[in-house]
Amino acid sequence: MNSFLGSNGAIARYLALGALMVLTACGTAQDTVSRADGIHDPYEPTNRRIHAFNKALDTNLLRPGSKRYARFVPVEFRTSISNVSENFSMPSVAVNSLLQGDLRSFGLSTARFAVNSTLGIGGIIDVYSEFGVEEVDTDFGETLYVWGVGEGTYVELPVFGPSTRRDALGRVVDIVTNPLSNTLDSPEKYYGTAAAYLTRLNDRDRFSSTIDSILYDSADSYAQARLIYLQNRRFELGDETASSGSDPYTDPYEDPYAQ
């Protein structure tokens, strides 16, 4: 663990990049949500084009690929791959927990990485969850939120899908600074990427009915994906400032017609 925290300077890299991101993102901190429904989407036309691209990608590649993956690969193997992918993300979760001042999550993710990497044979078995220990997950997008950076505009990223400016920056930082890809040699450092790719196929299959319903059964899949992503992300972060119209306590009895 020393290797991913101290000696290779992962934290220093996070901090440097993070500071840069905060500087560039500061402009968005004071952004006001421009619509009553809590959605700030000034790049909607561009986002919609990217959405169309992502949808075509899903139709032609991701969805059929996930069906084949689920059909030909036994569930035990798919779960093991997902475990490996999750284990690979733990050092990053640990660093982000530390940056958020969340020592409890830092301890849990560090212990999980240590236990699953050893007893769990490189993360193939999620020993830690078998023990019933709480799972923690976080990312640099959340770190930026904790640091007070505003959500920024809604963006749909090619391949990755719905995001916000803050979360998109967070994603870049997480990818560039991933402690493991900076520690491991080739080809080990690509195992995480490969596992992450297969995990995405597996998840596409596991949540198939929800994703299909949003993408293919809706009258406006872009608007549905945007609303669901924003609400769920704000819920995850515990962010109640960004939503106004989508406020859970909006009372339809007051004026059911009010937008």
């Binding site: 319903s213 549905q224 339809p252 009895y253």
Partner: protein
């Protein structure tokens, strides 16, 4: 003369009735226990439908019965129709409510098989403007537990749920966006939207 007495009698009766209503109100008002009881009943009934082993079509019919009995469907339909409800005729509003009720039952009833072997546990309650929110956790097989929140109010005159949040996602708002998109696609034609909604979900 007789009519005068009758009127007086009527006045006395209504006064007594309103006094009774005024007195009874605090007793009938929605309590946390009442809201919890309602959601416990809803959850029990849903679990019973899921474990009944009936066909999907039969389960969807049962779900619609539960939805109408314990949910404030008129307010949900009104909210989902949103701004466009202002220009809808009374007949259109009625037709929409009926179509909406079937659409929700099909859309969410279809997903019931994901709940087979799972359970929903009511956890805590919190007071909100319109009544109470009942926070529960859904445990589905092979999934991490997730939060489902029911919103309960007595503003309809009875204790009924009027919205649902799944991991922070406001189901009523999501459906309002969907109905708005359906209307946009049909150039704002409410009748056409209702006709298509009867087949959607």
């Amino acid at each position: 003369m007789r009519s005068n007495i009758t009127r007086r009698g009527f006045l006395a009766a209504t006064t007594a009735a309103s006094a009774f209503v005024a007195l009874a109100r605090p007793v009938l008002a929605l309590t946390e226990a009442g809201a919890r009881a309602l959601i416990n009943t809803v959850v029990t009934e849903i679990n019973r439908v899921i474990s009944s082993g009936k066909s999907e079509a039969a389960m969807i019919r049962d779900f619609e019965t539960i939805f109408v009995r314990y949910g404030d469907v008129p307010i949900m339909a009104q909210y989902v129709l949103g701004n466009d409800g202002r220009r809808a005729t009374a007949a259109q509003k009625r037709a929409f409510q009926e179509a909406f009720q079937g659409y929700i039952s099909r859309k969410y009833g279809k997903r019931f098989r994901e709940f087979i072997g799972g359970k929903i546990e009511v956890e805590k309650a919190r007071q909100i403007n319109a009544g109470y929110e009942i926070i529960s956790t859904a445990y589905l097989r092979g999934e991490a537990p997730f939060e489902v929140t029911f919103l309960v109010s007595d503003k309809s005159g009875r204790d009924l749920f009027f919205n649902l949040f799944i991991e922070g996602v406001n189901v009523l708002l999501t459906e309002r966006t969907e109905i708005g998109a359906m209307l946009d696609r049909r150039g704002g034609d409410i009748d056409q939207m209702i006709a298509d909604l009867r087949r959607a979900g």
